[in-house]
Symmetry: C2
């Protein structure tokens, strides 16, 4: 598995807007206890309200990883970002990135990391040595967020559930399968980049046998109904062998995002196909809740829609961001 | 896509038995028109009944690829095999291998290939630049062999169907998704080694739009019921968007091979789940036949079993190796 070393310094470069810095915002919101500060290289850079640091002050403060928390224009690390990151690496601080262009492909960073004894961690690159899945049942409990489509809040829902479970004193660990999730969790596996034969095995390794009352809360990917990515989703379901499935749906989409002609599945279809798939490795798999985004509705309408979903499907329905996830955790 | 250049010389090294040389046997049986000869490096080497050649005579005869057709003990190319293959590469002949240990990892081969202007082709390595699947319907017809489990004759069945279709003058192309199939077809994509996000897209690229009456006959992989590899199978089904599915089953297995505790699906389960998956990208997908191995039965019993399968499931049932595939092709 990928493993990152806290505390983190969030590198923002000269990015001036929140959208481009959404990775850093996610880390501040969901991994605040691991974040020591922000690194802004210009006066225009946005302020996340964190202590300002650079390579020198971060090294003095014991920071162990600088995380590239903003996407540069064009996706490629600009030379002045690379120079700043090289300074951190030379000071012995790991450099972590989820950008498409790899840190390991920049000779100046490779040299600096070698000199400082630091690591360059590209979180889009899967760790070596992933096993083939066995399908053998593991101890401990697992919850998986599964979506009708991509981009329906699977990561957010899993994070919110983990936080609520931990707040109640339950033993729960968020398990990340995508790059932002990996940075938040401090580890994980970038499932979309794993070689196909190791899909299920990667998830088995990510969520190993645990104490009987421990919950792994696993970030879902893709959709069984998506013509590009369904294979990823099926491998994830089989490897996760979930006891509880939280189904993420949309109240407004009629077709898959960016996939004209591909209809959204109904809730019933989604439940049936997901449980059918999951029961191959866990005969007790069941739908434990529904997660939707109600932002387009006023509060009264939103609560009515959630109540109607609950009445129709017999499981708790929630808007994790708006009303919390308590009802789903209650029912586990 | 991987593309190999015929004619081929089959390299057998000093392998003395058929089982270890099964890749070469497959090439002789299924791609005989592309095979110019065999290369035996010792008097004990088995004889496949092909003209004997070495690097020098192969180059003179216009051979363009030497294919490692036998598995060395331990899986790693022995030094005297590498020396012989380097000679071929220096003579400008491509060297092709499906071994786990990569040709590109042997400096002496890399140097020889550079000197001779030859390619080193590791057919376990997917080609770069595979696309993400789109799910868009392509012209032409597609048949996919899908199995209840691994190792149930999916490749053999697809090859036999292609040969029979071509014999009748139908436009048909075998499309390979595994290493031996790729060598036989002279191209293809090693699906098990493709990065997960590109599973469906790799198959879309492998079986592009074609004339309306042209059949791509696609080699299946894995099984939807296999806890290690089902994701690969689902991506393959979605990318293939098959019009016709030939279901490969076993008359004797009760559990998946090497997967104790995982029951073989029934024919009905297999049909239902496969067609359900396939209809995401081709609403007309249907089961077009059943393929089983009857080698453990005498001829009368075998014919009785096939007739019973046909009566029960309403599609032609065949033992491709024993009785041919005509009834399935008749029904297309």
């Amino acid at each position: 598995m990928i493993e990152l070393k806290p505390p983190y310094l969030l590198f923002l470069g000269d990015v001036a807007d929140m959208v481009t810095a959404k990775t850093a915002c996610g880390l501040r919101d969901w991994a605040g206890d691991k974040v020591a500060g922000q690194w802004r290289t210009s006066p225009q850079t946005i302020d996340l309200g964190l202590p300002d640091m650079d390579a020198e002050s971060a090294a003095a403060a014991g920071v162990r990883s600088v995380i590239v928390g903003a996407a540069p224009f064009g996706g490629r690390l600009p030379p002045h970002w690379a120079a700043a990151l090289a300074e951190a690496a030379r000071a012995g601080i790991d450099v972590v990135s989820g950008l498409h262009s790899k840190l390991a492909g920049r000779p100046e960073l490779v040299a600096a990391a070698e000199e400082g004894g630091a690591r360059l961690v590209d979180v889009r690159v899967p760790p070596p040595g992933l096993p083939v899945g066995t399908g053998q049942k593991r101890s401990g409990k697992r919850l998986l967020t599964v979506g009708a489509d991509c981009a329906l809040g699977k990561k957010y829902t899993a994070l919110a559930l983990t936080r609520e479970m931990q707040r109640r004193g339950m033993a729960a660990t968020f398990r990340a399968t995508g790059q932002t999730g990996i940075m938040i969790a401090g580890g994980g596996v970038p499932l979309d980049a794993v070689v196909a034969d190791f899909l299920a095995g990667a998830i088995e390794a990510l969520t190993p046998a645990a104490a009987p009352d421990h919950w792994d809360v696993i970030e879902g990917q893709g959709s069984l109904f998506h013509p590009s990515y369904a294979g990823v989703t099926l491998g994830l379901i089989h490897g996760a062998q979930p006891d509880a499935i939280v189904w993420c749906h949309s109240l407004t989409r009629t077709e898959l995002d960016d996939m004209p002609g591909f209809a959204m599945p109904t809730y019933a279809e989604g439940f049936a196909r997901t449980v059918e798939a999951a029961r191959l490795t866990n005969p007790a798999a069941r739908i434990a809740g529904i997660s939707v985004n109600t932002a387009h509705l006023d509060e009264g309408e939103a609560r009515k829609v959630l109540a109607a979903l609950e009445a129709e499907h017999g499981v708790p329905a929630m808007d994790a961001m708006r009303f919390g996830v308590e009802r789903v955790v209650d029912a586990l």
